[in-house]
Amino acid sequence: MGTGTKHKSKAGAIVYIVVPYLTIVAVLLAWEILVRVKGVQPIFLPAPSAIFKYLIAMIADGEIAYHLSITFLRIMAGFLVASATGILVGIAMGMSRLIARIFDPWIAALYPLPKISLIPLLIIWLGTGEAYKIVISAVTAFFPVAIATFASIRQVDRGLVKAAKDLGANTRQVQLKVVIPAALPGIFSGLQLGMGVTIIMVVAAEMIGGSSDSGMGYLLIHAGQVMETEKVFGGLIVLAVFGAIITNAQKRIDRLIAPWMEREH
């Protein structure tokens, strides 16, 4: 077993890669057998094969494409608003002590508030249309983006700033050519957090009573209400894969824009 556990051999390396996937297959198999042998009601827990069949049907008739694309657009809209405002406010706070002092009590007061509790108020103000879904997700994502941007600008290595000044950079050049690029990796990690909460808030907002007739949140809550449990599972799988793709794409874009980051982590 010695060589196998150290996966020095080629076979060992294959085991190392394959085994985690085998566990997934094993769990699905056990689930399928359990449901069939025990005769569990599909409303309570459908078999993986049944879920898969539903999923294929949902993809084939365009239901997934429709709801997923609408959810995706809402996420992008909320995320764009949150990242633009969050980065702007974070940079302004990082570069001016006065602005930092002005925003600080607001952020301290509003950041710990669970943003989902703003939903009733936002529905009163904006109704249950698109504006409400974009605002609730943007407000939620604004905080991690602004806070991460502010912190990473404040934590920029003073040595780099001193060196730039010594080489003749003026204050504006220091900010544009040194502080902002040096803060980019931190800003990107804020954007990743922001994207995570945007996905959560858009799907949650789509679920809120009758606020929507489209989107993955609507699909899930509607399927749940009519006890189509296979559809609920199908929707969950789609959302999980979708989330993984978005997070991965974001990391790739970050590495493309700031390739020096790889070495720093």
């Binding site: 001193k162 003749g168 950079a169």
Partner: protein, 262 residues
Amino acid sequence: MEIVVDNLVQVFGEAPNEVLALDHVSHTFPSQRFTCILGPSGCGKSTLAQIVGGIEPYTGGAVTVGAAAQPLGTHSVMMWQHLNLFPWRSVIDNVAFGLEMQGIAKAERYERARRLIAMVGLRGFEAHRPPQLSGGMRQRVALARALIMERPILLMDEPFGALDAQTKIVMQEELVRIYEQTKKTVLFVTHAIDEAILLGDEIVVMTARPGRIKEVIKVDLPRPRSQEMVNTPEFGRLYDRALHLIREEVLNALRQQEEAAG
């Protein structure tokens, strides 16, 4: 370009907890000479270099660089202990940084940067980023980035401190070569005695905190210098003298720490 330091005082911190870092330091650093500032850690030698470079403000006394009453730092450039290269910029964009800040067009600044990169022996690495380079190569980038400024004074704050012994020897010889070619006025901060003798025309030995000038040692070794001089009797004599002075100060510093602790 001559640097005149006259009764320089530097105090860090506020009234009850203030620390006297430099205590009435006076010295004239001769033009186009290589002066090493040698002292135990915490003696204020880096502080002195940063004040001369206009990087840190000072508490009292006067520092005059050259004839004109221009702000400090106008005629000097610093090579930092931690190099402070910009990791997001390529080698050529690091070297050309100072020119870019002056608004010099890309074609010209790249041409000048390429010349400096070749001078420090990094041709072919223009597009690499600092994190992709070895310690010694990063030193060369930092040196080129400083030299491209064409300022008459080069300040160096223990730039070779973090290098392994072999790379350090190569970098020292490289620096000696470049100094002998360009005839800059160099202020080189170090705590390594052999480095100070090998590089310097004179060695300013500083006391433990508060930093004062303990003694100035003239180094009469001929130029061009090389690593082989380490074995000459003259080198040995200088080494013994500097070691004796430094040992006294290190012991002083230890005594101070013990008094402060007990």
